[in-house]
């Protein structure tokens, strides 16, 4: 295995690839080093023994790390592979049947030293599965459950089941709308970090009707965003889901004040739905977003069963104090609106420390 320092330099260079920057942002060598330092206590923790209380300890990365990735966006696959390369593991990636060209093209452009650390496959043999020291699985709850049944006692298992995100807006609607449009439009809403609903605070009497006003502003900004960032073409199934949602909503909206519909004209580019009900509904994706008045209490009772699948809550305006008030919700990340899709490499995805969860330790003393 190459020394960590050398790997960091090579990886940092590969991170300057525009396709990776698009999904992961700018990542420098010092970022990678700081990441190791934060999670493992020392940037060289994988190469040498470092003080650990009265002991000396060295981290051991999995020899083989199996990544079972999904096809909705390459985002999670990039994150997973980045972690595996940084740790120095051999990375076996089980690709979805639809492929992940952004990822495989990036792998093809890696320097030879790093490329040797990565292997992709479209089908997984039982032998490949057995040889993995750690398994990272990204997929639906059913997929995760099926993989979990095959995990062997010696294997570390990191599941990333299906998740959804929301946003919470408390005033400053005009500035919030373009940020919310960006979060709801990027990657056509296909990732776990994509918001499905925005909750607008109307608790102050001066904010009565803000959710409806925000929905209207959001519709304008969804259109503006789509003018400069056209959505990817939809297949028949995706288009059918959007049409179905729109027509069902139109029926409800023509018969009740508690529902309103805004939609792009002559195409399916975006859809905004105001609903007075606080229940968190799954969007059909592809830039279809709900706007709702924020209930007094945000919990399982007011938001419904989907709340257990929360990944990220994007809030506006953001402050640590406001974010802490939401920490009782089961989301693992609370971030500023507009940053929903750009987690730091330091984030604890689904509550896991992404590097520390994968390593084992050897102690001296």
């Amino acid at each position: 295995m190459t020394p960590t320092h050398d790997r960091i330099q090579l990886l940092a260079k590969a991170c300057q690839d525009p396709s990776l920057i698009r999904f992961m942002g700018n990542i420098s060598a010092s970022d990678l080093s700081a990441w190791l330092d934060t999670e493992l206590g020392h940037p060289d923790a994988l190469d040498q023994f470092s003080p650990h209380g009265p002991l000396l300890s060295k981290a051991t990365a999995p020899n083989t790390l199996l990544h079972i990735v999904s096809g909705n966006t390459p985002h999670a696959a990039f994150q997973s592979l980045l972690r595996g390369i940084l740790l120095g593991s051999h990375n076996l990636i089980k690709l979805p049947s639809v492929g992940l060209p952004d990822l495989t093209d990036w792998i093809a452009r890696l320097p030879e030293t790093l490329q040797k650390m990565v292997e992709t496959c479209e089908t997984l043999t039982p032998d490949q599965q057995r040889k993995a020291d750690a398994v990272i699985a990204i997929g639906s709850d059913d997929t995760i459950a099926a993989i979990q049944q095959q995990i062997l006692p010696h294997q570390v298992f990191i599941p990333h089941g299906h998740k959804i995100s929301i946003g919470i807006i408390d005033g400053d609607l005009q500035n919030a709308a373009p940020l919310a449009a960006r979060d709801a439009s990027l990657y056509n809403q296909r990732g776990c970090l994509s918001p499905h609903a925005y909750y607008v605070d109307e608790s102050d009497p001066s904010h009565r009707g803000d959710a409806l006003k925000f929905a209207e502003s959001l519709a304008t900004e969804m259109e503006n965003f789509s003018q400069t960032n056209a959505p990817e073409p939809l297949n028949i199934s995706e288009a059918g889901a959007v049409r179905n949602l729109r027509e069902t909503t139109r029926f409800a909206a023509t018969n009740s004040d508690s529902t309103r519909l805004w939609e792009s004209t002559d195409n399916l580019d975006w859809t905004v739905i105001y609903q007075a009900s606080p229940t968190l509904n799954l969007s059909c994706l592809n830039r279809c977003i709900y706007v709702k008045p924020k209930p007094t209490e945000l919990n399982h009772h007011t938001l419904g069963n989907e709340v257990q699948h929360l990944s990220t809550i994007a809030i506006h305006p953001f402050s640590t104090a406001t974010a802490q008030q939401l920490s009782s919700l089961p989301a693992h990340r609370i971030c500023p609106l507009g940053q929903s899709q750009n987690p730091s490499i330091f984030w604890h995805q689904d509550g896991f420390a992404p590097l520390a969860s994968l390593v084992k330790w050897q102690d001296l003393g």
């Binding site: 909705n72 089908t123 099926a146 029926f251």
Partner: protein
């Protein structure tokens, strides 16, 4: 019996006569649309939002179709008669947490007429000795499928065996007994059930069941509310292996709780066809216009027997429109008098709830 509107009597008569009474489908469709526009305020509001009204359209193609999900909006029932006249409500199947669609009726006379007249019009075999693998309608009054089976049984069968108990378990002894009696009399057996109920039967049979000559089966397809899936070819291979029925002795029925008529095909690779009081279109959801010939799209069904709710239903099923030349390929021996044909591709995967990881379920399967 209460009749909400003379339109119902008129339609029952028209369907009994297979629309041979001189009025065209379009004339009746415009009459039904006017009735529903007048009697169903939520639907009228929806039509107005789409700038459609009986005075502005003159062809069934233009009748606004409502999504099947509209039947789940319980606060806004899709009912073309006064609520206090509701006598029957069929609900969609699904998991406990799912909101279920509701289809209300003031009477089931038209519904039942549609079932039996379509059966005759499409020259389907009469189920003389029926073995029914669904719940008895007495135990499942909310199930439109059970009601359909009951109607077929009462209308056509000289003997019927309800082979599913109240817990949803198959009664194998009853099935064997019914087959023995039919065999002794030398008369064919008709096995009727959902695809999943047949799968359960096949799994439970210790040895293949020998059915009398001329026996046949009807499966309703779909695995809604279960995690089971099976290709039609695999399922029909099991019909052959476990019941000795060749694929052309197996009929598939396609319908849904939100409709009042059914569509049928026989064997594998054939189109579905409905009775003459139905029409279908296949819509490309990207353009919201008719799909090009041979192109898949979402199935929209126009069912005159759906008088009591809305006649035009936008399904979430994917199909390819058939041309009139496809008619002989429906597999039925009789001359075709029904609506257009379509090849059913299946339930749109996007119709299922999902969060991220849209394509993740194939990760272990590919």
């Amino acid at each position: 019996m209460l009749h909400p509107h003379p339109c119902e009597d008129h339609l029952i008569a028209a369907i009994r006569d297979r629309l041979d009474g001189g009025e065209s489908f379009n004339t009746l469709a415009m009459r039904v649309f006017r009735h529903q526009f007048q009697q169903n305020r939520p639907y009228q509001n929806y039509c107005k939002a789409l700038r459609k009204s009986p005075d502005k359209i003159n062809h069934w193609h233009e009748v606004p179709a409502v999504s099947t999900d509209v039947f789940k909006l319980h606060d806004i029932p899709v009912r073309s008669f006064p609520a206090e006249m509701t006598r029957h409500t069929f609900t969609t199947s699904g998991t406990t947490n799912e909101v279920k669609g509701e289809h209300h009726f003031p009477s089931l006379a038209l519904y039942e007429q549609s079932i039996t007249s379509a059966w005759d019009q499409l020259e389907l075999p009469r189920p003389q000795h029926a073995v029914i693998l669904t719940a008895n309608p007495r135990h499942a009054p909310q199930s439109s499928l059970s009601h359909m089976m009951g109607t077929l049984s009462q209308t056509f069968a000289s003997s019927s065996t309800w082979a599913m108990d109240t817990d949803g378990q198959l009664d194998l002894a009853a099935i064997h007994h019914a087959v023995e009696i039919a065999t002794a009399s030398g008369e064919p057996v008709a096995l009727l059930g959902t695809a999943i109920s047949f799968l359960h039967l096949f799994e439970q049979l210790e040895r293949p069941l020998t059915l009398p000559t001329g026996s046949w089966a009807m499966e309703t397809g779909g695995y809604k509310g279960t995690r089971r899936q099976m290709q039609k070819t695999e399922l029909y291979a099991l019909f052959k292996e476990k019941l000795g029925l060749p694929s052309n002795a197996v009929i598939n029925e396609y319908s849904m709780t939100e409709l009042s008529s059914q569509f049928y095909t026989r064997g594998i690779g054939h189109s579905h066809v409905g009775p003459s009081w139905t029409r279908t279109r296949v819509i490309n959801p990207i353009t919201d216009a008719d799909a090009l010939p041979g192109e898949p799209g979402h199935l929209v069904i126009y069912d005159l027997a759906n008088l009591h709710s809305v006649m035009a239903i936008r399904t979430q099923d994917i199909a390819i429109a058939g041309s009139p030349e496809d008619a002989p390929s429906t597999g039925f021996t009789g001359s075709r008098e029904g609506g257009e044909t379509f090849t059913l591709i299946g339930r749109d995967p996007s119709a299922l709830p999902r969060g991220c990881s849209r394509a993740a379920d194939d990760t272990l399967q590919s």
